[in-house]
Symmetry: C2
Subunit: 160 residues, 2 copies
């Protein structure tokens, strides 16, 4: 049994989408927790402010799912870069809806198929999606430090 | 096709273990990047030093896999808490070996079975394992801020 146990499916596409959207909901709360000004200006150790990190997440989420689904890797429209917290949250919510629609239409074989994301990063579709999720968790953790340094209590990590 | 596409397996047990060990390898590099003293003392915004965060990861990794595998939730031995970077890395490496051995022996049905981790957190085995991985990514991201604040270049996020 132990030989085949490693081949057991532990996460389905639907479960992964739900997991990702749970994390995205938490990231939305972190965006909301920043005062407008600090969202766009504050950082620690010369790093990027949280608005820039959130913009990076936006540049990955839907474009990655589109790329995995279709094999076409199109960068997010830089002209849409938000200048206010309200615009950022609005764009975030648009992506939440789009992700639900687009993710379920990824052809099953594309999760395991190797591709070159945005012409640069080679890996299977699932690896590229996992990278986008992990990158969001990683940088959002940095946002927690910014909030703490500002004396603001971040949302609980387990609230998704 | 779109109706069933959501039920497709995207990650197997073996792939998840490899993914986790990749992350653990990166966390090991972050531990190594801290000067001995700062590892145990430095933080930003009143948060815990990185040694405490690494100790939290150690308290979750093998105990979580043991719990998912057996249904017995035993907290990590507090008497083993490392006092030096060398001890911390040594314990880390022991867990790397143990995880490889123990993870592959998780009975397949335990990934989807609901249990109460450490008598407190209810969820399926896979959810508890994902929580341990995500928690490590989250707090390690905070370690990146500590390193930057110390003027130290952290390892690349994609190096696993």
């Amino acid at each position: 049994m132990t030989a085949t146990a490693t081949e057991v499916s532990v996460i389905t596409a639907e479960e992964l989408l739900k997991h990702w959207q749970g994390h995205r909901g938490l990231t939305r709360k972190v965006i909301e927790a920043f005062p407008e000004n600090q969202l766009f200006t504050f950082s620690v150790g010369g790093m990027r402010p949280f608005s820039e990190l959130a913009w990076e997440f936006i540049g990955m989420a839907v474009p990655v799912v589109d790329g995995v689904a279709t094999g076409k890797w199109v960068e997010f429209d830089k002209a849409k870069k938000p200048a206010t917290k309200e615009e950022l949250l609005s764009l975030w919510d648009q992506q939440t809806t789009q992700l639900n629609e687009k993710f379920s239409k990824i052809p099953p074989h594309r999760f395991s198929e190797t591709d070159k994301a945005f012409g640069q990063w080679e890996g299977s579709g699932i690896k590229t999606i996992q990278y986008a999720i992990d990158n969001e968790i990683h940088h959002r953790g940095q946002g927690y430090v910014y909030l703490r340094a500002l004396g603001i209590e971040p949302p609980h990590f387990w609230e998704r």
